[in-house]
């Protein structure tokens, strides 16, 4: 067993376990905590796939920013409503289980019947280069500059929207 496989098993186990713990916790803050752990494990998996930039951005954006927002909402609102939703509509639980089983079955099918594509370079050094910050930066600011600009407009619209919907007073 190479180091890579050992690390993968480690990250995968942490990821799976934290995922299960996340959805079984009664306390939403605990769920959020395990979700953060899950993100960290995912970042580890990204690292193993030579996607260093995405790994770090995963931590900065998801674990560092988005989950803080979640926690804020949970802490300030203290939602206890979700338990009552499941109580008033017990069918929902089975629907959720059904969807989960479906997705799981599809993943299993994917693992056994998917023909991998030969789009990753065979050279190891080249593979490592793909995920570096320099490489991603070059791609984004040359080939994909227009998508990046469009994403910028998207965020701009969302910002205007937040302002329009949340600002207290307009003159």
């Amino acid at each position: 067993m190479t180091l890579e496989i050992i690390l993968f098993i480690l990250f995968a186990l942490i990821g799976a376990a934290s995922g299960v713990l996340m959805i079984t916790r009664k306390n939403p803050v605990m769920s959020a905590l395990f979700l953060i752990l899950n993100f960290a494990a995912l970042a580890g998996v990204y690292l193993l796939l030579n996607a260093q930039f995405i790994a770090v951005v995963q931590i900065i954006v998801y674990a560092g920013a988005i989950m803080v927002l979640f926690l804020f909402v949970i802490m300030l609102l203290r939602p206890d409503a979700e338990i009552s939703i499941l109580r008033t509509n017990p069918l929902l639980k089975y629907v959720a289980i059904g969807v989960g089983v479906l997705v799981f079955a599809q993943l299993i099918y994917l693992i056994f019947f998917f023909k991998p594509l030969n789009i990753t370079p065979s050279d190891v050094a080249e593979r490592i280069q793909i995920g570096t910050v320099e490489n991603i930066g070059t791609e984004i600011y040359t080939k994909y500059i227009i998508p990046v600009q469009v994403a910028g407009f998207l965020l701009l619209s969302a910002t205007i929207g937040a302002l329009v919907l949340a600002k207290k007073k307009f003159e």
Binding site: Q106, L110, F113, F114, K115, L117, I119, T142, K143, Y144, I145, I146, P147, Q149, V150, A151, F153, L154, L156, S157, A158, I160, G161, L163, V164, L165, F170
Partner: protein, 476 residues
């Protein structure tokens, strides 16, 4: 490969709109009477872009390593978006002031939404489709809730946002499958992958998920739940905007993606799926609309039915069908904006004058408006020689050519049903006594917009062949 200036020049219409957004934002920050300037500015930007798109239609190009295309069909779609939005600006001008909605942001968001639609229409790559779709949808979510004092508007915004995000989830999931199976996001590569048949199961799953997601956006039957509430709750002009240009953008993506797939032999999975969606949407929309007493809800259900008619054209899988859909979209955009424009014209400050009873005897009080609304109702019902008739005609003919006679029959039956609720409104306006006179705020801007829409509905209806031949020329 660094994009050259030529690349930008090939996709100039979206670039103009993007520049317009930035200029409008800057104006809003530094110029005092921005509230007065920005609507006019937005109108001029839309009009200029529409004009430019028509003028540069002949040059068909791929831009940015086949991420986007310019010219040809794309420019016709650009024209629908921008000219439709120009009319929306006209009908909004006094409506926004009447309702005291934040003005500058409204027009800036209109422009942003149009930018998203243009990117969707020109996209030849799932990356651009997704970005354009999100750009458009985010603006729609905000616009739906922009009337913050109205609870229904807030509800519409939230409902639209939650369901829209859910639909986006389907789309992204589908795109992930497609990328995994083909290793690319480009339409060309994906079509080739289907021809070679590699990982065909996953491609099919991906494309089906993608279609489900887009069915939300075009408001087709099993995924229509949000439509009535959102169209009713959103400010009327926003409903006009969303139901027409937004639908056009979503259909543009479906046509660009699915039409090449129908020519691949042995791969006939989308035809039945789309036919089913089309049939259910038509029947459901037409029947449920009968029960509606609220004009905006009625128009929402009619919008579901129209999505069904348009889906027929795609399900037919032949270029003529798609040309019919685009003609239909052109016609539908102007007749629906006109109809919603009149509803917005008559609407009171608080959400009054929206019930069908309020329109009783309108012909005596506002003869011109009543006549125009009747025109739009006739057009929506598909009565010749108006544009709505030829839209349906081309779509049904394409269906028959493609061997989907049953679908065409379902379409004709549901058209017949829909005549009932469209004409009911006309009957109310002309043949019922008015129990009370409604207070109406006159607006010359809205009138101008409605008249332009009416003229277009007539012109497009009188010269259908010219338009369809132009579209067919670019499709094939």
């Amino acid at each position: 490969m660094i994009p050259s200036l030529q690349d930008l020049f090939n996709i100039l219409p979206p670039v103009i709109i993007g520049a317009g957004i930035l200029i409008a934002l800057t104006l809003e920050m530094f110029v005092k009477p921005a509230k007065k300037i920005i609507p006019h500015f937005a109108f001029l930007v839309f009009l200029f872009t529409a004009y430019y798109s028509l003028m540069t239609m002949d040059k068909e190009t791929y831009s940015l390593n086949t991420l986007m295309s310019g010219g040809g069909l794309t420019n016709i779609l650009y024209f629908i978006f921008t000219f439709g939005s120009a009319i929306v600006v006209l009908i909004s001008y006094d409506f926004i002031r009447k309702k005291d909605i934040v003005s500058s942001e409204y027009y800036i968001l209109l422009m942003s939404a149009v930018l998203g639609m243009m990117i969707m229409a020109s996209a030849k790559d799932f990356l651009m489709v997704f970005l354009g779709l999100e750009q458009m949808s985010v603006c729609f979510y905000i616009l739906a809730g922009i009337n913050r004092r109205n609870l229904l508007s807030n509800e519409a915004s939230l409902k639209y946002f939650l369901l829209g995000a859910f639909a986006t989830g389907f789309i992204v999931y589908g795109i992930a499958f497609i990328y995994g199976a083909s290793g690319s996001l480009s339409y060309l590569v994906i079509t080739n992958a289907i021809v070679t048949g590699q990982n065909i199961t996953f491609l099919t799953i991906g494309l089906l998920l993608f279609i489900i997601g887009f069915s939300f956006k075009i408001a087709a039957f099993p995924f229509h739940m949000w439509v009535p509430d959102v169209y009713q709750g959103a400010p009327t002009t926003v409903s006009a905007f969303m139901s027409t240009t937004g639908k056009t953008a979503a259909f543009a993506v479906l046509i660009a993606l699915l039409l090449p797939l129908f020519t691949v032999g042995n791969y006939q999975i989308f035809g039945p799926v789309l036919s089913l969606l089309a049939a259910l949407s038509m029947i459901y929309g037409s029947i449920v609309a009968i029960a509606q007493k609220d004009i905006k809800r009625m128009l929402a259900y009619s919008s579901i039915a129209h999505a069904g008619y348009m889906l027929i054209g795609i399900a037919a899988g032949i270029p003529a069908g798609s040309a019919g859909v685009i003609y239909y979209l052109l016609a539908y955009t102007f007749m629906n904006i006109g109809a919603f424009g009149i509803v917005a014209y008559l609407e009171g400050v608080e959400e009054t004058n929206l019930h069908i009873e309020d329109y009783a005897g309108l012909a005596n009080q506002k003869p011109v408006l009543a006549a125009l609304l009747s025109l739009f109702m006739f057009a929506l019902a598909g009565i010749p020689p108006l544009a709505g008739f030829f839209g349906k005609y081309y779509v049904f003919v394409a269906a028959i050519k493609a061997g989907l006679v049953w679908l065409a029959l379902v379409g004709i039956v549901s058209s017949a049903i829909s005549v009932y609720f469209y004409l009911r409104l006309v009957v109310y306006m002309y043949f019922r006594e008015n129990s009370k006179t409604i207070t109406v705020f006159d607006s010359s801007y809205s009138m101008l917009g409605i008249i332009i829409a009416a003229l277009l509905v007539i012109i497009v209806g009188v010269f259908p062949n010219t338009v369809v031949e132009l579209i067919t020329h670019f499709i094939s």
